[in-house]
Symmetry: C2
Amino acid sequence: MMQKSLQVVPASKSGGAKAKHRRISEEILSAIESGRWLPGDRLPAEDQLAVEMQASLGTVQRALRSLVQMGVVERHHGRGTFVTGARAQEGQLRHFRFTAEGGTQLLPVYFKIVGIETVRESGPWSSFFGKREDNYIHIHRLVNVNDEFDVFSEIYLPASRFSEIAGMSEATLNGVSFRDFLTERFNAPTINTHQTMACQPLPPRVTRALNVPHGQYGIVWSIGGLSYRNTPITWQRIFVPPSDRVIEIVPTNAAEQSPLQEVF
Amino acid sequence: MMQKSLQVVPASKSGGAKAKHRRISEEILSAIESGRWLPGDRLPAEDQLAVEMQASLGTVQRALRSLVQMGVVERHHGRGTFVTGARAQEGQLRHFRFTAEGGTQLLPVYFKIVGIETVRESGPWSSFFGKREDNYIHIHRLVNVNDEFDVFSEIYLPASRFSEIAGMSEATLNGVSFRDFLTERFNAPTINTHQTMACQPLPPRVTRALNVPHGQYGIVWSIGGLSYRNTPITWQRIFVPPSDRVIEIVPTNAAEQSPLQEVF
DNA sequence: CACCTCTATTCCTATATAGGACTTGATACG
DNA sequence: CGTATCAAGTCCTATATAGGAATAGAGGTG
């Protein structure tokens, strides 16, 4: 039997009224964002959540399925529902990666920080982060891929959110994957990306750093990183000199490992 | 009340046994593949499908949601469920596109076929299509983007499936988008793509065709196109000379326009 | 100690049911 | 004729319920 008026909002004209399963997704997502549950943690069981959220089991399940879909949580039959862990992909680079022609993955094995500074300059990253942000932590790094070749990476981080990084020593930041670093230290996992590529002459500071001829053409690869709720958290530009190694574009959506995919 | 033994398969040990909603997805997908419903057609109503499929409403709805998720069908409140139309994205290029720095999209406006031939050569496309395929229709085209610059495109199609194309005149194929063409004429929409990029010297035939200096570097952009059930249907290589225009990588998954996305 | 069995926990599938909300087209009214 | 109302068709949300299936751990048995 339908319980009277649990269908709370009559939607008043499809205004801001959202479906209950959506509100539950939102609520759980907010809790995760706020750090109430950290990556790796187990959420309460479905039926318990149903009680807490004052919803039926089916509704909670639907909300959780959508969070799985987004890559925010993972569910395991008989074990529980877990916040997606930092290194859940065990070494798999999630949104992009270099591969050899055959498809074997090439891993970045060595990072060397060239410089860290706080800047106010505007550029493509400004529009990515939006108007309100006008201070960036700017980090240049040399990245070696699979002991085969080097690329040059520049990262811009919004200073408002990640100010602590500006004070960190190069030693702390050397050799780390920023993706993992931001996930573990700031609970800011990269959930989605926006990427563009262009072929352009590499700028002099890059050709010098990479030790390739002045004026050499290469790929300028821009990657905007988005966290929960599409909050922009990183903007990165990678300069890739010519090579027979290729950049593989991986679907940016967590949907790829969703069971639905099998249906394809 | 649960009806006795509608829970048909006891799963016998999680062998090939699939959930019912999955089997329904499969069945509908197969019907669409077979052309029983064409792009734009309306499917029977939920409750009617439920009867046909001998499932409850909820189960059918779940199956349909997953098809929406895959981009195979679209559902419209109060109107019905429709097979995703060929040009559903009205001019939006779905999996990749060129954009100006600001983000405005640049459209390919002019195609000129350079040649069509049937070949047996192997290359990166062979592993994409798999062992069984050893004959390809190979089409070279010059593509102008937004009246601004030209790129050189090579497409390989499996001859077994698209043999009719080999006999078509260049006039028929000129100026068409292959994506739309395959959707409309062969009921073979591109649902997913696999993309790689590399910066390399452009081959002589390309530099000649594009009228850029011999040995010019550019982006070699390979795009494998997959249709329903991840069947490979096209393999394309686009040679892009240097430019300040960028290639924007769009999530290859139809999930992007799913309502779930709003939750981010 | 190794192995088996049982049990509690947890997620997974499926059903039947009820009503809300959007769309479209027909009909009635001024 | 234009507009308002209504009804049918369709999808959307939500509930309560029932049982299946995977997992992990406790306890017993040889």
